[in-house]
């Protein structure tokens, strides 16, 4: 049970636990997202990502989730009574980012295409008002987890 994002390996995170945490709050979280015409993690961000690109991309995405999305969504999580699931995801994303950080430093190649993909996501996020953007990003974690699952080895 480990993630292998190209050259970047991440142990110590049980993907099933992340899914369980998200499923426990999925309905209440996604019900708050009223902008159904927009998708932040769209095809151009996640499809056909190369192996080495995947490490850069997941690092950028999860770092954004840890530093921005979770921080801004916390009060809503408390309001909806889903702090436990919120904490499980936040702390496990924090573990992944910390371990990817170490791998990143060993990877000298900069990945312009991974950065472009992240910027597609980031610009879409910025085009929405902050509350809607955070709600949508938080609700799209199943898209993110599904993509991460491709790199998970039992």
């Amino acid at each position: 049970q480990e993630f292998q994002f190209g050259p970047c390996r991440v142990e110590g995170v049980v993907l099933q636990k992340l899914w369980q945490a998200f499923w426990a709050m999925k309905d209440i979280v996604q019900a708050q997202d009223n902008i159904t015409s927009v998708r932040l993690l769209r095809k151009e961000v996640l499809h056909n990502v190369s192996e080495t690109e995947s490490c850069h991309l997941i690092h950028a995405l999860l770092r954004f989730y840890v530093n921005t999305v979770f921080k801004l969504y916390h009060d809503k999580a408390a309001e909806f009574g889903v702090l436990k699931s919120f904490s499980a995801l936040a702390n496990n994303f924090f573990v992944i980012v910390s371990k990817l950080q170490a791998s990143q430093e060993k990877m000298f190649s900069t990945h312009e295409s991974a950065r472009r993909r992240f910027l597609l996501f980031y610009r879409a996020f910025k085009q929405l008002d902050r509350e809607s953007a955070v709600t949508k990003a938080f609700g799209e974690m199943d898209i993110l987890l599904s993509w991460m699952e491709k790199f998970y080895q039992l």
Binding site: A21, K84, N91, F94
Partner: protein
């Protein structure tokens, strides 16, 4: 109640064995009164990004016993802060916080219990069910000079496990240990157990 101030619980500590984590503390004693306790936790994420945030424990907010099973609250391999306070009616004590943060990678891993059985000429092993975190590495060999040791990885929930088809009159030995991927650690090996197969050894 005759109690001006309720003392805070003392001597907080965590006992963790095989990924089961229990927080304990010294009870707060007020004669002829029932004290309730509340437990809260904070992962590394909360400590770093929102240190004012504490999350009520799943099973112990509140509880009457001076202990709390926090296994379900520890959902990542990061360090956790834990705190407890006492309540008596409208009186509430100060929070007591665990002195050293807890990380599940410090859990004590014990050798697994196991039972070796025979089903005809099939050597089987039944392993202690320790929960979804645990895989087992089972080593087995035929007890004779120069015998090769085989290793089989057993996933959680698969019981009993077929090891080998044995020969009459021969003896076979088995030992096992656990492995927890979430923390990347394994236990010591269990005691080796050997069984002798009934019947006459086959002529060479």
């Amino acid at each position: 109640d005759g109690v001006a101030v309720l003392p805070a619980p003392q001597n907080l500590s965590v006992q963790s064995t095989n990924m089961k984590h229990v927080l304990t503390w010294s009870p707060v004693i007020v004669p002829e009164e029932i004290i309730h306790y509340s437990v809260e936790y904070q992962g590394e994420y909360e400590s770093l990004y929102m240190s004012h945030i504490w999350i009520p424990s799943s099973w112990c907010s509140p509880t009457q016993r001076p202990e709390c099973d926090i296994t379900e609250d520890i959902t990542a391999t990061v360090s956790y802060s834990l705190r407890v306070r006492a309540t008596l009616g409208s009186l509430t004590s100060a929070w007591s916080t665990l002195k050293h943060r807890f990380n599940q990678n410090s859990t004590i891993l014990t050798p697994p219990g196991m039972e070796i059985t025979m089903d005809g000429f099939h050597l089987l092993i039944k392993l202690e069910d320790l929960g979804p975190h645990f895989e087992f590495f089972v080593s087995y060999w035929r007890r004779e000079p120069g015998a090769k040791e085989h290793v089989k990885v057993v996933r959680p929930g698969v019981l009993p496990v077929y090891l080998e088809t044995v020969e009459p009159g021969a003896a076979y030995c088995v030992k096992a240990r656990t492995f927890v991927k979430a923390i990347g650690r394994h236990s010591a090996f269990s005691q080796t157990e050997c069984v002798k197969v009934q019947g006459e050894a086959l002529p060479l």
